[in-house]
Amino acid sequence: MFSKKHLFLSASAVLLLAACGNGDDETGDTGDTGEETTEETSGDMNELTVWTWDPNFNVRALEMAEERYQEENPDFSLNIVENSQEDVVQRLNTSLSSGVDTGLPQIVFIEDYRAPSFLNSYDDAFYPLGDYYNTDEFADYKVAAGTVDGNVYNVPFDTGVTGLYARTDYLEEAGYSLEDLEDITWDEYIEIGKDVYDQTGIKWITNDHGDLGLMRIMLQSSGVWWTEDDGTTPYIADNEALKMAFEDYKEMVEADIMNVHNEWDQFIQTFNNGDVVTVPTGNWISASIMQAEDQSGNWGIAPIPRQDMEGSVNASNLGGSSIYVLQGEGQEAAAEFLAATFGSDVEFYQELVTEINALGAYEPAMEGEAYEQESEFYGGQQIFQDLSEWTQEIPEVEFGQRTYEIQDILAVALQDYLNGADLDEVLQNAQEQAESNM
């Protein structure tokens, strides 16, 4: 009888485990090449598993890299598991913190802002890639995002280089041209904006008060962040660049030149409907701007404005991700694959630009033909050439481990400031709060 009970228990346990196993397989199958499950792949190292998001961008880029790599290595294949970025972050966090090393992919995409937090939270989880490719050939700020204690853990992928996207037809209507927006400060940007708004009645910029992307753009152009170089000490109350960013933001709101949207779809709609003159943001917005085919020829890209202070440049960054390899079986194969494609293949970068408008941070790629093409939509501007030039000028900052945590604190501070609170007080509060959370 006793043994029967045991049997009972273990049978139910097996059932339960089987149920869990099934769940895993299902998620594995959402990938494009997902006929095989993750478990099977760990034995066969010619197939590497990748976790990433965005089917039209990251997944496509990987598929193109896979295809090129297969020419030399016919046995090689990728099992691309596509989830939302949120889910990738969650799965990675739960898997790594559980201490279990099965079920993890060999390759994973991580947003640059989040990378330091992963690299610092999970020692020895990532495989150093610095020896596999020439890091000097990439924009410094990209490599820096994946570097801890001198070890490079990432292969940079897309740059989030920013541009000031502007409607040239509206500008002309108000007596301005795209040149007037080149190499200007944010203060000058606001002044022109007020004038254009007066003359055309069209809002100058659109933003979501909860999205501090604009602040991140401003800060990085001045080479600072809201944490100090150690990546954890908050740098808020004495941060001149941040203070200036808050003041400029409020001025745009009070001058009524800012349209307020609340979510992504509304953001896209605003410029697709022609309700806004400029869109200062990362170059990944290009595809969305080009959705409005009737506006072809009416857009141009100027360098992003700089802050009115020493050391600020007309180049910045917003978002962008890099590729990481997890330690474990297949780490060398994964590193070699990445080095041969994303790490050194100039031709591959031409394809990326032509096929999916993906702009890498790889300097030698700029010499290629694809970067010289003129974009009809942007009035014949060589946008890829321009954007990649700006990419190389982006100041390097230490994103640290608290980008999103402090951003949430600052979002509240901004809300208070816009409602009339004193700026120094607001920032002092934010500083204290960020310090108490350390």
Partner: protein, 303 residues
């Protein structure tokens, strides 16, 4: 011969009895084991983790520091305040609405009862993400709700439902009420059907009006169910996560961030600090215990 069969019967019975005992213990043991493994073990483990702090897997034992930090953490205090605002305004509103609908739909004279009951219950089984998306469109700056309100001349300028700290809270309350009223109504409906019609009949003969019947008969008879639904709703609201996450993202600022969402942020949005996140989750346990105790008290006293 008969003696022998008696004997056999006895031993058989004894064996059966033993089998029965074994079997019943097995049936009790299996779920107990699972409950211990999947409920109590994680609870204890979570408490143990809450005594640690650090990033990711680099956790150090810090004793009660995390719990001390709770009292100085502005973000946590705001999350608690938001959560309490939600359930203080939302639960009474929802219970009154649910009572109203259930009494209405329990009328003997009402036609198409099934259809109406389904309609009111439908939100509870609607996919959360789908309804959040639709709500975001309805309540966007130039959405249907704003246009309707402006058309009726109730407002001059569109309300920033998602962008204004006050209206974002209102929106969350509207959304949860819409979703859960029908669910609670079902409890009241079934309780109403258990009330003896004779009581109402007697009341009518004695000359009680409909309003008197509602407050003197229906409400007292429903008291245990009202108590039950208010406790489950309180627990549900304390754990509120889906609506703020999908509708407002906790914003603007942190005007609609709830405790659960703060836990999520601590674990997945920021550099993971599972120790502190566990401490915050234990605060929910404390709130649930206190509030349930209060509600039990209030519910009993009136009896």
């Amino acid at each position: 011969m008969t003696e022998m069969t008696e004997e056999i019967k006895k031993t058989k019975k004894g064996k059966l009895e033993r089998n029965r005992i074994w079997m019943s213990w097995t049936f009790v043991l299996i779920p107990t084991l699972f409950i211990i493994t999947f409920y109590f073990y994680p609870m204890i483990q979570a408490f143990w983790i809450s005594l640690h702090t650090g990033t990711g897997v680099n956790l150090d034992f810090t004793g009660l520091d995390n719990y001390r930090r709770l009292f100085n953490d502005q973000a946590f205090i705001t999350a608690v305040t938001n959560t309490f605002i939600f359930f203080i305004f939302q639960i009474p509103l929802m219970i009154i609405l649910a009572l109203f609908f259930s009494v209405l739909l329990n009328q003997k004279t009402l036609h198409f009862k099934g259809i109406f009951r389904t309609l009111v219950f439908l939100p509870a089984i609607t996919s959360l993400v789908a309804y959040s998306l639709i709500f975001r469109y309805l309540f966007s700056n130039d959405g249907v709700v704003n246009q309707a309100l402006m058309f009726m001349n109730l407002i001059d300028a569109p309300i920033f439902w998602l962008g204004d700290p006050f209206w974002a809270k209102v929106l969350i309350i509207i959304a949860i009420t819409w979703r859960w009223t029908g669910y609670n109504m079902i409890f009241y409906l079934s309780a109403l059907q258990n009330i003896d019609p004779g009581i109402y009949e007697a009341a009518r003969i004695d000359g009680a009006s409909a309003v008197q019947q509602f407050f003197r008969i229906t409400i007292p008879m429903l008291r245990p169910v009202i108590l039950f639904t208010s406790i489950t709703s309180t627990i549900g609201t304390l754990q509120l996560f889906d609506e703020p996450m999908n509708l407002t993202g906790g914003g603007p600022g942190n005007a609609t961030t709830t405790i659960s969402q703060y836990i999520y942020n601590l674990s997945f949005e920021y550099t993971p600090n599972f120790g502190y996140a566990a401490a915050v989750s234990y605060s929910i346990v404390v709130f649930v215990l206190i509030l349930s105790a209060i509600q039990f008290r209030v519910g009993r006293e009136r009896k």
